[in-house]
């Protein structure tokens, strides 16, 4: 018995010395040119696939992933954040990327065999020791646009489709990139910017850049330019004439009325602060740091209110006000407020009521 223990102890010491030598003396060859020893790639890749399958759970509610606006948003984010490594549909990977170890798979190959929730998990979490980064924000509901895009790739998106989706509008350099998503009155998931004040836009852009307002997509966008450029962008967007009011979305009249009562503190119970005191309509005396809500797209408003209520949303120094203000909102309250604000017409001076 004693001899066995002795042997084990000697083996343990030898093992430690050997491990120490590998790390301390640099005996292991980290060259990507040399690649892995036989079998290692298979072990790591199989581990990756099984780990994703074990951890990715089917979420209770997914957005409609066939929504064209969601696919476009995902495609535009992919174009700046992911294309460098995974290439675009119909495009070859650059020689440098193909020389990575492991080489990032071409996007058309990468999306095969995975379901939406697997793709969501991979994009949100990244993959260790492969160069695949995690989502650059502590929330993962904004990963869905990318998943919608990846599913479209799975369905055989062509190079022409991709180019059309990610084309930038005619404008000067940094603005063109912003206008790709925020131009033409935005979409259901992206707010238009040209009826907000410069102060609000500036605070928001800096919050995205510093991470106090979490968004993987906007963190990527805001980290691409200098802080001075962010200030210029904020002022440029605030100067643009508000888009022609589009037809208000169809909402149940009763829900709108309920939202109006809540927003103007006319319900009689003291659970929810009057949104209108800061966000209008007609809040002419309120701080410019409070965004105008009238006419913002309903899905965007709903998502933001949910983020506030879940305390996932941040922003400038005033964010603490909204965190308190939204704590007592019920789901119905949120739907009603969204219906009210989404159907108000867009106007910076809010002279619409």
């Amino acid at each position: 018995m004693k001899r066995v223990l002795h042997t084990l102890a000697v083996l343990a010491v030898l093992g430690l010395v050997a491990g120490g030598a590998v790390v301390g003396l640099g005996l292991y060859n980290v060259s990507a040119r040399v690649g892995h020893m036989p079998g290692v790639s298979w072990v790591m890749h199989t581990t990756f696939r099984n780990s994703v399958r074990l951890r990715a759970s089917r979420p209770k509610d997914m957005p409609d992933l066939s929504d064209a606006a969601l696919i476009e948003l995902g495609a535009r984010h992919y174009d700046t954040a992911c294309r460098t490594c995974h290439a675009a549909p119909g495009e070859a990977r650059s020689a440098t990327m193909a020389a990575m170890e492991p080489a990032p798979p071409h996007i058309e190959t990468a999306v095969q065999d995975w379901q939406a929730h697997h793709l969501h998990w991979i994009v949100a979490n990244g993959v260790k020791m492969t160069g695949m980064p995690a989502w650059p924000a502590p929330r993962d509901d904004d990963v869905w646009p990318v998943v919608a895009f990846l599913l479209a790739v799975q369905d055989g998106m062509t190079e022409t489709d991709y180019t059309a989706l990610t084309q930038l509008p005619e404008a000067d350099a940094p603005m063109a990139y912003c206008l790709g998503c925020h131009g033409d009155g935005g979409t259901n998931h992206v707010p238009p910017l040209n009826h907000q004040s410069a102060a609000y836009l500036q605070a928001s852009l800096h919050a995205y850049r510093s991470g106090t307002r979490a968004s993987g997509i906007m963190a990527q966008a805001a980290s691409g330019v200098s802080p001075q450029a962010l200030d210029e962008l904020a002022h440029w967007f605030a100067r643009q004439t508000p888009a022609e009011p589009v037809a208000a979305p169809q909402m149940p009249v009763q829900l709108i009325a309920q939202g109006r009562a809540l927003a103007h503190a006319a319900t009689g119970d003291g659970d929810v602060p009057a949104c209108a005191a800061c966000h209008g309509p007609n809040a002419r005396d309120a701080s410019e740091l409070f965004p105008v809500l009238s006419g913002l797209p309903a899905p965007y408003l709903e998502q933001q209110l949910l983020l506030w209520r879940d305390a996932t949303r941040g922003g400038g120094r005033q964010a603490q006000l909204m965190l308190k203000a939204t704590q007592n909102l019920s789901d119905t309250d949120i739907f009603a407020l969204v219906a009210y604000y989404a159907t108000l017409r867009t106007n910076r001076s809010d002279a619409d009521e």
Binding site: A274, S287, F290, L323
Partner: protein, 339 residues
């Protein structure tokens, strides 16, 4: 050298006296002052005070009798009692005497209860327990809209006022020890009580049911005033807010609007119509701030606005710690001016 010695002696004496100095005021405060059931200032509290003393004296007499008897049979007369006497003692001392005494006390006690809910003589107050403050509505006889206030109860002396109690989310308990008994406040159920203050003066009320993190800081001021004074005061409360009187207050009013304070607070006569927090129309003339927590001085207004959560844990109002010193001082001027 000698100075050091004196300081040492002085410190020594402070240390020795600290404990009694801390305990003494706490003990004394329980018997008199702003918040004591033993210093009644209203007819209801006096009835309860009488009940307390009757019960206490009775209990002391009974205690002496029982222990006297026990002492007698164990130390003075240790001989066995006759069976006849013992039986008689059990029947008289164990059945008849307690029945008569307890019956009398119960009759007396129950006879007091209806008075605690006697109908009012005109004025009705509606008090809603919030976390952690008091929403107060005054409904004078025949009024069709209330006069709204907060964290302060004023009542006319010599007249019985009815108080309707309600709660927003959790159970609270409304208690003004100097004026009467306490009554629980339930969400979704009205409870009623009435109070008749007799002596004009100022007292303190307190939530008497644990209701969350800041339960201990859920107090209110109570003022009993002669009817004429009360009517004048109520008339003043019914009026809309006075416009800002100084430039600083005027800037403060703009900051109040700019920061969206009106989302939660109403200032009647202005755009501010929020109902989440206390009505601030006459906050400058109130006796306390933050439901009996701070005074309504300029400094305390500033402290409250910037340190809500530190002063009152988990309070709903966010801390406006990002305001500049000038903004803060202007805002405090405006609020203090809302008399």
């Amino acid at each position: 050298m000698s100075g050091g010695l004196i300081r040492t002696l002085h410190l020594g004496s402070t240390r020795r006296t600290r404990a009694p100095m801390l305990i003494a005021p706490a003990l004394l405060a329980a018997c008199e002052g702003q918040q004591s059931a033993l210093a009644p200032a209203g007819s209801d509290a006096r009835v309860l005070d009488d009940l307390f003393w009757v019960m206490l004296v009775g209990a002391v007499i009974l205690w002496l009798l029982i222990n006297g008897l026990f002492f007698y049979v164990t130390r003075i007369n240790r001989a066995a009692l006759s069976r006849r006497f013992a039986n008689g003692l059990i029947v008289v001392g164990g059945v008849i005497f307690p029945t008569v005494v307890l019956g009398a006390l119960l009759t007396y006690g129950l006879s007091i209860m209806p008075d605690q809910r006697a109908p009012g003589e005109g004025l009705t107050l509606r008090v809603t327990g919030e976390q952690w403050w008091w929403r107060v509505e005054y409904w004078p006889d025949g009024a069709d809209a209330p006069i709204i206030a907060a964290n302060e109860i004023r009542l006319p002396t010599g007249q019985r006022s009815e108080i309707v109690l309600d709660s927003a989310r959790v159970i609270h308990s409304f208690w003004i020890p100097a004026l009467g008994g306490k009554m629980d406040m339930f969400p979704g159920r009205e409870s009623r009580m009435s109070l008749m203050p007799e002596t004009p003066g100022r007292w303190r009320g307190q939530c008497a049911e644990f209701c969350g993190a800041s339960h201990a800081l859920m107090a209110f001021d109570v003022v009993a005033m002669p009817l004429a004074d009360f009517t004048a005061w109520l008339q003043m409360q019914a009026a809309p807010a006075r416009p800002p009187a100084t430039d600083a207050a005027e800037r403060g009013a703009q900051i109040f609007a700019r920061e969206g304070c009106g989302a939660c607070h109403a200032v009647r006569g202005t755009e501010a119509r929020g109902a989440v927090g206390p009505d601030l129309t006459h906050v400058g003339s109130r006796l306390s701030l933050g439901a009996g927590t701070l005074k309504t001085t300029l400094t305390d207004f500033e402290r409250w606005i910037t340190h809500t959560g530190a002063i009152k844990p988990e309070v709903e109002m966010p801390a406006y710690d990002y305001l500049t010193d000038t903004d803060l001082s202007d805002l405090a001027q405006y609020l203090k001016g809302l008399e």
